[in-house]
């Protein structure tokens, strides 16, 4: 080895390489997520799946999260109604449109975006921890040895279950948020139940936009958490790290997706 090449090796990665390393890691990460999404969708379109596993996942992801989601969204509805009532009283004392505006915002955005964050915490952490502990205890390798595709066997049922049940749970939790907002508006600000439950500002486009967001967020939670779980390494500590990365990744994906879908909605779904 010559003197020159030795110094080159010793100097390690170049300054540009060090600067670009996080960027290329991020690009690789996103590419991996889309590969897993493509693979999952291909397997779903081929249409062979286990009914039992799907129903079990739907129960775990949907029914088991329902109480938690109703509690959090109930509080969210109360908080937002309280804050917006206090604020609009600063400008004009008329609270008759409080319910109508809140319900529109909830349908168009908050039921999906604010609801998906706790859902990501609960469902995402669960999926990543479960698949992650299967990886570190070599159960996924055992699946491969039995010629069972881990994506088909583990990811597909979770993806379908999370997309269907997650959306359903978000819709129910959104309804709970409207109810709790109604109770607060009535109890604290003397707004009539009838006046509050005013759906006149909600258009079909708003509902479509809201449901699109819910489906997109739930699918993102499932894919990101499954990918974090499958890429677990390093024993029990690795499972903790995978859970962390699943929750952070899904929460961040929700915020970024919300930015893009809301932006598109602003131009294509007039209110």
């Amino acid at each position: 080895m010559t003197e020159a090449s030795a110094t080159l090796v010793d100097s390690g990665p170049s300054a540009l390489g060090r600067l670009m390393a996080p960027v290329s890691a991020g690009v690789n990460d996103i590419a991996g997520l889309f590969r897993l999404l493509g693979r999952t969708l291909t397997l779903i379109s081929q249409g062979k799946r286990e009914q039992g596993a799907l129903l079990e996942q739907m129960y775990i992801i949907g029914n088991r999260s329902l109480v938690f989601m109703c509690i959090t969204m109930g509080f969210i509805g109360a908080i937002i109604t309280f804050q917006s009532a206090v604020q609009s009283q600063r400008l004009l004392p008329d609270l008759t449109m409080l319910g109508a505006t809140f319900i529109k915002l909830l349908v168009r955005d908050m039921a999906a975006s604010l609801g998906a964050m706790p859902l990501a915490t609960r469902v995402g952490a669960g999926i990543a921890a479960e698949i992650g502990s299967m990886v570190v205890t070599d159960q996924v390798d055992a699946l491969r040895m039995c010629a069972a595709d881990p994506v088909d066997y583990l990811v597909v049922p979770r993806f379908i279950a999370a997309t269907i049940m997650g959306t359903a749970v978000l819709i129910i939790a959104g309804a709970v948020a409207i109810l709790s907002g109604m109770v607060i508006a009535n109890g604290v600000f003397d707004v009539n139940f009838h006046t509050y439950l005013n759906f006149s500002m909600v258009t079909l486009g708003d509902v479509g936009l809201g449901v699109t967001k819910m489906v997109a967020f739930c699918a993102a939670i499932a894919i990101i958490s499954a990918q974090r779980g499958l890429s677990t390494f390093g024993g029990s500590e690795g499972v903790g790290t995978a859970t962390t990365r699943a929750v952070v990744g899904s929460s961040f994906a929700i915020i970024v997706l919300n930015f893009f879908i809301s932006g598109l909605g602003y131009f294509f779904v007039p209110s």
Binding site: V86, T121, A129, S133, V239, V248, F259
Partner: protein, 261 residues
């Protein structure tokens, strides 16, 4: 047989209430033990600095990204209402009020919970199942002073700082979005935001985020230290910690909204 089936539901409700009481009581005890070590302060300084760096400094990128998108989304959501009532001079006030007071602290806390809280529960849980905490006790090192206190202090201090940073970044995000989407001049934006926002609006949001930080810290330390059952137990307690802290954040948000009114 039918009697036991009849009692199955109340028994399950009772069991979950008892475990809830167990967890809330455990967290309260942990918090009181930690508070006792505040006067005189018995905190491991090296651990404190390490945690401040790990939990705070390394969370800066994700918090900044979250805040920028949050600020932008607030303006996008307000846009239809703004155009309908032609209320461009209120955009700055509306977007920054919601961000400072409610959504900013809430989203940053949820992000912090996912990143720092989960990691903390996993770390403490691993230490428990590999008997490192018993090892500390055997060396007469107080686990609360050495492990819990630095983490609680670091989380409360750092989430407070990160929220200040996040507020600023979210404001920039809303100004840029308002300019591009609604043609609201940045000067108009600030002219409506600054006079109508009192210092209390910003301070109330920061107090809230400190409360969330304490919530995340106590919850994740409790669930980490209460880990049982080897390696799979660590996964379970991370999961339980993240979910419990998220619930706690929403409940604390609700209560503090009324108290800080």
């Amino acid at each position: 047989m039918s009697g036991s089936r009849l009692l199955a539901l109340p028994a399950r409700v009772g069991a979950s209430l008892l475990s809830l009481a167990d967890q809330v009581g455990g967290m309260t005890l942990l918090l009181s033990q930690a508070l006792k070590r505040l006067v005189p302060p018995r905190v491991d300084r090296y651990e404190l600095v390490r945690n401040l760096h790990r939990m705070g400094v390394q969370s800066v990128p994700i918090v900044m990204a979250t805040a920028a998108f949050t600020g932008a989304i607030m303006v996008i959501q307000a846009a239809p209402l703004v155009e309908r009532f032609n209320a461009r001079e209120f955009v700055g006030w509306g977007a920054s009020f919601v961000t400072f007071r409610e959504v900013g602290p809430l989203l940053i806390a949820l992000m912090f919970n996912g990143r720092v809280g989960a990691n903390n529960a996993a770390e403490l849980g691993t230490m428990v199942v590999t008997e490192q905490v018993d090892g500390l006790r055997a060396l007469a090192i107080d686990p609360i002073g050495y492990l819990v206190m630095p983490r609680i202090i670091a989380m409360v201090v750092m989430i407070f700082m990160l929220t200040i940073l996040g507020d600023g970044v979210a404001l920039i995000g809303s100004i840029i979005t308002g300019d591009l989407l609604l043609d609201v001049d940045p000067r108009t934006f600030l002219a409506s935001a600054i006079p109508m926002l009192g210092p209390w609006d910003v301070i109330a949001g920061l107090i809230k985020s400190a409360i969330f930080g304490l919530m995340i810290a106590v919850t994740s330390c409790y669930f980490g230290l209460a880990t049982r059952g080897g390696a799979p137990g660590v996964g379970r307690s991370v999961n339980a910690s993240v979910v419990a802290a998220a619930t706690g954040i929403f409940v604390a948000d609700y209560l503090s909204t009324f108290v800080l009114g």
